[in-house]
Amino acid sequence: MDDKDLGLLRILEENSRLSAEEIATMTTLTPAEVQVRIHTLEDAGVIRKYTTVINWEKAGNGEVSSIIELKVSPERDFGYDRIAERLSRFRQVKTLRLMTGTYDLQLLVTGKNMQEVSRFVSEHIAPMDRIRETATHIIMKSFKENGNVLFEEQEAERLPYSF
């Protein structure tokens, strides 16, 4: 991993649909070099996936997302790892993090509607061994996701010419 790799990652993070040719004109690399480096980063698992930032609210699919805080009793020898890995296997769990502070694990869970999320939490998450407490927060509206604002911003006005 060198500066050129980091540069590539920054470019791809912002727009993963650019072609190797387009990336090459923006950097000092040839298209072939760009391709080789990207493949290496993919193989190393640094690049996990190419995805799209979607404003689901605008897409109107009516999905409900919630943040779920869990207080968990860690296991001897394994800490939080095993329970976190188990929770990760649920399709409904989109994001899972171990946190400092007043609770341990934080989950982002999505479902078709409130009932589905609530059923999932009460039937699958809350009864699991070692989970001592859950707190579910429904997301009312998302304004920014992973550095991308989801509301319309006016383009700043600039003069056509200035020195």
Binding site: R10, T25, M26, T27, A156, R158, P160, Y161, F163
Partner: protein, 385 residues
């Protein structure tokens, strides 16, 4: 009734792009590469600190020199980043943009008849400011053959007994040229030998793409005869805030301060508070913008060369300066027809003085999407010639 307009005001030539400006305003769907400012918004932490200060009622004058905290922070920043040692008490003035800094610097050193050398192509206000102060602007041409750097021999040729100072601006608007340590050392000897003063406008210092910016005042013994001008507009996307600074040895700074206190009193306080936040904690935002400019530069310049407009790779600022000599059109004709026929606004290089003929200043401070659209429109235009 008498004609009340002064001879000095009359003597200033009208703007070279007024007609383009008026025309562009009446047109739809224009991609403007004619702008001399970032397309980014000011980082929000800067805006927020300024808003908060207004809420707190900090809306009064500041000391003439500027807020002490801003001068102290800048003094440390300049030492750390550019090896420039200016005392925050009496060697730094916060100005209303570099434009004001330039004006007070010139007025504090120019007597009627003094010749002031200006490395050109240059920002459009240098020569008029010298004339307004009663001085005589003398261009020193920086040519494409020298990568638009200031050539020591050409500098030497223009020096007369009346020469008092030299004005430079690197990274350069409009060429994007930079002067490295050895380039500055070569002109330093001449400046010192002829006992000249140096005014260096380094507003694009932070936008240097290969290696680090070298401040002219840090080279050899230039410091004692250098006025350094800089500001926040370009690096932190703060053009509308109007905050810059002038740094000079105490006696020069005191002279400039006398003019500043009568013409400006102080730079706007909200701007100064925003600027303080910028130096203290917008490094990351600045780096993100610089990285993006670098990508755009590479993409845009390789595009210009591909479509047949030979372009040096600019080392700083956010301007490409392609040559249109091969098209058979002058820079003004090219710019005018490109605007009318393909709705792309660029600035003819001759506006920036000697050495700018047959070139265009294209600012790449616009999104990559717009840059590629501009490239394809320029290509269509060239193919139709």
């Amino acid at each position: 009734m008498r004609n009340f307009i002064s001879e000095r005001a009359n003597g200033i030539p009208p703007s070279g792009i007024r007609k383009f400006f008026d025309l562009a305003l009446t047109m739809e769907d224009v991609i403007s590469l004619g702008v001399g400012e970032p397309d980014f918004r000011t980082p929000w932490n800067i805006c927020e600190s300024s808003i908060y200060s207004i809420e707190q009622g900090r809306t009064s004058y500041t000391p003439n020199k500027g807020l002490p905290a801003l001068r102290e922070t800048l003094s440390g920043y300049l030492k750390q980043h550019y090896n420039l040692h200016y005392n925050s008490d009496d060697e730094i003035i916060i100005t209303s943009g570099v434009s004001e800094g330039l004006d007070i610097a010139i007025r504090s050193i120019v007597d009627p008849g003094d010749e002031i050398l200006i490395a050109q192509p240059s920002y459009v206000s240098y020569a008029p400011c010298v004339s307004l102060a009663g001085g005589i602007p003398v261009p020193v041409e920086c040519t494409e053959a020298d990568s638009f750097k200031l050539n020591p021999d050409k500098l030497q040729e223009k020096i007369t007994r009346k020469t008092k100072a030299l004005m430079i601006n690197f990274p350069n608007n409009p060429t994007g040229a930079v002067m490295k340590q050895k380039d500055l050392e070569a002109i330093a000897d001449i400046i010192i030998d002829h006992d000249l003063l140096l005014i260096t406008d380094e507003v694009y210092a932070e936008l240097t793409y290969e290696g680090n910016h070298v401040a002219a005042g840090s080279v050899n013994d230039l410091w004692q005869r250098t006025i350094t001008l800089n500001g926040f507009s370009k690096a932190y996307a703060m053009t509308g805030w109007r905050v810059g600074y002038l740094c000079a040895p105490k006696d020069l700074c005191e002279a400039a301060l006398k003019i500043h206190q009568y013409v400006m009193l102080c730079a706007p306080v909200m701007g100064q508070i925003g600027a303080l936040e910028a130096v203290k904690s917008a490094e990351e935002d600045k780096n993100t913008m610089v990285n993006e400019y670098r990508l755009r530069r590479n993409m845009f310049v390789s595009g210009l060369n591909r479509i047949g407009l030979p372009t040096n790779i600019p080392q700083g600022a956010f301007y490409a300066f392609p040559s249109v000599e091969g098209t058979g059109l002058s820079d003004t004709e090219f710019a005018e027809r490109l605007l009318k026929e393909q709705r792309v606004a660029v600035v003819p290089g001759s506006v920036f003085g000697s050495g700018g003929d047959y070139h265009l200043r294209c600012a790449y401070a616009v999104s990559r999407k717009k840059l590629s659209e501009a490239l394809s429109r320029i290509e269509t235009f060239i193919n139709g010639l």
